[in-house]
């Protein structure tokens, strides 16, 4: 282990970790938005929305995220969509994880006892009100943990944008492996930073989950 080298290069990794964090946060927000829309579409009364939702989930979960990212970033200009690498990364990863989050949210919503809907409808709430005031507040609690699993996968998934040259943790590790031929040392630094980000996020999710619990 070459500790001298590790000490010399780690500031670059700290900077890169900051990019990874930004990517993770923005991707999570976009993913949650896509997931919410997707879940609403999949649970809609209208067949056309249900179909759109099903196709979205199937296509984005059925093909590699890396290919989706490449279509957007390298293929985008051909259809008039010129994005810088960071933006393409956020959009590509966010829409991708949104498909997984769609299923997570749908799962939590349909896990709520049917009797809740029936009771709410019986006391005169509209379908929208039932969803808004009865089902969602209960389902939201159930979602926190499984969404945490999605977010954990997403943080590791941000490594993919190294392939479109966003200077985040994995790209930085790759570059230093190339210039120093010390893969193990570079893996240790970037690995440790990933673990810190993932551990902190996990703690946050656990805290949120406990806070949201009724009993």
């Amino acid at each position: 282990m070459d500790f001298d080298l590790m000490l010399r290069v780690y500031p670059f990794f700290i900077e890169a970790a900051w990019i990874t964090i930004q990517l993770s946060v923005l991707t999570t927000l976009l993913g949650l938005a896509c997931g919410t829309l997707g879940a609403m579409a999949r649970l809609s009364r209208l067949r056309i929305f249900r179909m759109i939702g099903a196709v979205y989930v199937s296509v984005f979960r059925g093909t590699p995220a890396l290919i989706q990212l490449f279509i957007l970033y390298f293929g985008g200009p051909q259809i008039g969509l010129q994005l810088d690498a960071f933006t393409a990364g956020v959009i590509g990863l966010g829409v991708n994880i949104g498909a997984y989050m769609t299923e997570t949210m749908r799962g939590a919503i349909i896990a709520i006892d049917k009797g809740q809907t029936e009771a709410a409808r019986t006391v005169g709430l509209s379908r929208f009100q039932t969803m808004r005031y009865v089902i969602l507040p209960q389902a939201a609690r159930l979602m926190i943990r499984p969404l945490g699993v999605n977010i954990n996968a997403l943080i590791k998934g941000t490594a993919l944008v190294a392939a479109i040259s966003v200077v985040e943790l994995t790209y930085t590790a790759q570059r230093f492996i190339g210039s120093t031929y010390k893969p193990f040392e570079m893996f240790m630094i970037s690995g440790a930073l990933y673990m810190i980000i993932i551990y902190a996020t996990g703690r946050g999710i656990t805290w949120l989950d406990r806070k949201a619990r009724i009993v």
Binding site: G62, P64, F70, I71, F74, G75, G191, Y194, M195
Partner: protein, 218 residues
């Protein structure tokens, strides 16, 4: 709009050959991850502490870092210690180990869920602990864990795209090859996506069949 899908037929054989390699990598890495998963699970549950602790650390590192980073480590790391593996082998080992760790978590839970009476009965009949594990407990645990492992294997197929980055000429890299010649990224990446999607549908069909057979055998 600058799209021209008529360029595809000229390179279809290149891309489809890549697809064959993607399937080969997926199958090889899936087998490695399955066998590795069982071994890791037994180690994590039954090995002495001196083996178990470093192993937990290894599993924890593998689950907490991106696969892409691990592939770089394995591909370039092995060169550093003098082992020059072909990219294909490095890719299979990287994918296989990564998913072995995930499979191992599933198999551990499943082993613990096998009724204690099974082990007790086997021991009463005179089987050693190792025999009881190998012949009685693990077969049952593995049967129960096939469906979730199937999901991991479908994830493995999609993650196999990452080995293009270390130069394995599978589907993604073959598409890139065609793009290098034609400057048509949109068309060829969409083609690659379609091929991945078809392989994915095939795997889901196989998974459903296996699940039905397991359900019928129970």
């Amino acid at each position: 709009m600058n799209l021209d899908f008529t360029v595809i037929p000229a390179y279809l054989d290149v891309v489809l050959l890549g697809a064959v390699w993607t399937i080969a990598i997926t199958v090889a890495a899936a087998l490695l991850s399955f066998v590795g998963g069982i071994i890791f699970a037994v180690v994590a549950l039954y090995a002495p502490l001196v083996v178990r602790l470093p192993f937990r650390l290894f599993a924890w590192l593998f689950m907490g870092t991106p696969l892409l980073l691990q592939l770089f480590l394995i591909y370039f790391g092995l060169v550093q210690i003098g082992i020059d593996l072909p990219a294909f082998v490095a890719g299979v080992v990287g994918l296989g180990l990564h998913f072995a760790v995930y499979n191992s978590e599933l198999i551990q839970t499943s082993i613990l869920a096998v009724d204690r009476g099974q082990m007790e009965a086997a021991r009463t009949l005179g089987l050693s602990r190792g025999q009881a594990l190998r012949k009685v407990v693990i077969p049952q645990a593995v049967r129960d864990v096939i469906p979730p492992i199937g999901n991991n294997m479908i994830a493995l197929l999609k993650d196999s795209a990452l080995v293009s980055v270390i130069g394995v000429s599978e589907l993604t890299l073959s598409a890139q090859l065609a793009i290098g010649r034609t400057y048509r990224p949109f068309e060829f990446y969409v083609l690659a996506a379609v091929v991945y999607y078809v392989i994915n549908l095939g795997m889901e069909a196989v998974q459903r069949r296996i699940e039905r057979r397991i359900a019928a055998a129970r």
